[in-house]
């Protein structure tokens, strides 16, 4: 089922949670809403579910306006941040809940319910926990129960609010890969909210980066990482090296020796030069390259990392980068660096 969000605005008192947000989600897609806390991603998810109502705007499911429908009739599977399992029910009863509250001809027989619940519990690999209570389960097991419970109603869309937020990092990684495989099996349209970029980039087909109640960029994980559309996305995703620069005549001057680079369409005036640390090529010391001083050489298993301090036009900046074999730098060495890939955004440098 495809989902269309149109011009959603939501205000909590004086705080604008969502500012005119529009978004399309394709049928069968796994979409991640990624952003720092307070960026409005959870609010957007709850509005799509029908747990929250926007001040303005509409949500369409397969072209049908669902604004007049409550969460009860939208047929969404919602996985809550802290699972929200029914604490006084067994795992089996938790998953059976959505089937038991059905009325009329949709109501399944006891045998059908049992079959369906056990099938789901086996799908999420916790069939053996059917008689336990939520308080007797680990975080990862609770997560699987929450997912099975949401899937029990055969939802047309699966909404997951920080599904791995409360788990430790090992379980997190296992579960998100497993979620991805499950999605490839079921093909249910899914939206996942997360503040963890690694999670979003690894799991999702497409990622929506949100900041301050707005959508900053929508794209595949590769597009988001390699081709950030805004300064916010560049800073939020991955590592960034930032140098304050000035755009003059369509170019930026990076060092005092006259290293000039094309401004890539950034408007004239103060701007910030952004590059990924790994996009710097180590080169010979040259006026047309950035001059850097090695401040540390570190080894992490197979990879060797170099800490370099570069003299930008307005003071030093630090880069941590890997370096090629056959190159043997020492602390205190002066080396040349050249940015293979970079971006210039008309935005004053913020922090870092």
């Amino acid at each position: 089922m495809n989902i269309e969000v149109k011009n959603i605005t939501k205000q909590f008192g004086a705080f604008a949670a969502l500012k005119d947000v529009s978004l399309g989600i394709k049928s069968g897609e796994l979409m991640a809403l990624l952003g720092p806390s307070g960026s409005g991603k959870t609010t957007l998810l709850r509005i799509i579910a029908g747990l929250e109502w926007p001040d303005a705007g509409q949500v369409f499911f397969n072209g049908v306006d669902v604004m007049s429908m409550t969460v009860r009739s939208r047929n969404v599977g919602f996985v809550f941040q802290h699972y929200a399992l029914f604490r006084h029910m067994t795992v089996f009863e938790n998953v059976a809940f959505g089937l038991r509250v059905r009325k009329g001809p949709d109501r399944a027989s006891e045998a059908q319910i049992k079959e369906r619940v056990m099938k789901l519990l086996n799908l999420v690999h916790i069939g053996w926990l059917a008689d336990r209570y939520p308080s007797q389960l680990s975080g990862g097991q609770r997560q699987r129960v929450a997912l099975a419970r949401a899937l029990a109603i055969e939802p047309s869309v699966l909404l997951l609010d920080e599904p791995f937020g409360a788990l430790d990092s090992k379980v997190r990684k296992d579960l998100r890969r497993w979620l991805r495989r499950l999605h490839d099996e079921l093909h249910v349209t899914s939206i996942l909210v997360t503040h963890d970029q690694e999670e979003a980039l690894e799991v999702a087909d497409r990622v929506v980066v949100m900041g301050d109640g707005r959508i900053e960029q929508v794209g595949t994980p590769a597009e988001i990482y390699d081709d950030p559309a805004t300064a916010f996305v560049h800073e939020f995703i991955g590592e960034s090296v930032m140098l304050p620069v000035k755009v003059e005549g369509g170019a930026v001057e990076l060092n005092s020796h006259g290293l000039k680079l094309d401004a890539r369409g950034a408007p004239e005036g103060p701007a910030t030069f952004y590059a990924r640390p790994d996009d710097f090529r180590i080169a010979e010391l040259h006026a047309q390259h950035l001059r850097g001083r090695v401040t540390g050489v570190r080894r992490f298993g197979a990879t060797r990392r170099l800490d370099v301090e570069i003299d930008g036009k307005n003071g030093p900046a630090h880069i941590e980068t890997s370096f090629p074999a056959g190159f043997d730098p020492r602390v205190g060495d002066e080396i040349g660096l050249y940015p293979e890939r970079y971006r210039v955004f008309a935005k004053p440098e913020t922090g870092s």
Partner: protein
Amino acid sequence: MADVTAPMALPAQRGHIESRRASVRTEPAAVRIIITLIAVSYLVLFIVLPLVTVFIQAFLKGVPAYLNALNEPDAKAAIRLTLLIAAVSVSVNLVFGVIAAWAITKFEFPGKTFLITLIDLPFSVSPVVSGLVFVLLFGAQGLFGAWLIENDWKIIFAVPGIVLATIFVTFPFVARELIPLMQEQGTSEEEAAVSLGASGLSTFMRVTLPNIKWGLIYGVLLCNARAMGEFGAVSVVSGHIRGETNTMPLHIEVLYNEYQFVAAFAVASLLAFLAIVTLIVKTVVEARMAKETE
């Protein structure tokens, strides 16, 4: 108690035990024993002794006298009336207590803090004032007095007045017990239930009610104990008509003032017994609640 008896066991060994435990407990044994003794004797003197006295006085002239006192028509009428008052006021407060707690904890609305304060009002007002309020409203000289007399409605010095006063005095118990519990539980389980297709009623019956049942039982119990035992407010509105508007506490006072001590304490022993039952059930319920929130 185990903590107190252990160091007292063998005086010869005490020094040895003290030195080993010095790092754990800083107070010397004498201080610990004195403090514990003060606490225990205070409890015995002010709580246990009066309670025991009630039962001793009640059975002073033997079991037949005790049973006769309870079998007397006015006593039976008082017991019946008390049970009726408690049944009505506890059911009303159960329903409205749950509704108030639900509204306060699951929804946001203006004036919420004011409502929470209002719920506590009966606790902070003297019971005499609570009773007088109803006399001023429904009494012969009261605000609605003339209208009530015209329509031949009797509220003050009749059962409805006693019910109203009791409801007023006991209102906070259920709501106060539920609000912190429901606040702690939040709304996400209800949201999950609704998202799975449950109706509002179904969500309440299948999710909310089972989650609050122990707190609810506890609140009802306290509410019932107070409803049966209320004296001040009821005394003002009842009119003390024997066999008609005398509840158990009022009946006890009448008997006592007439020097019928055995009869007075016999009826009092029923209220004291109720208090003990309430305490036992409370302990059981608290243990269950602790177990379930583990």
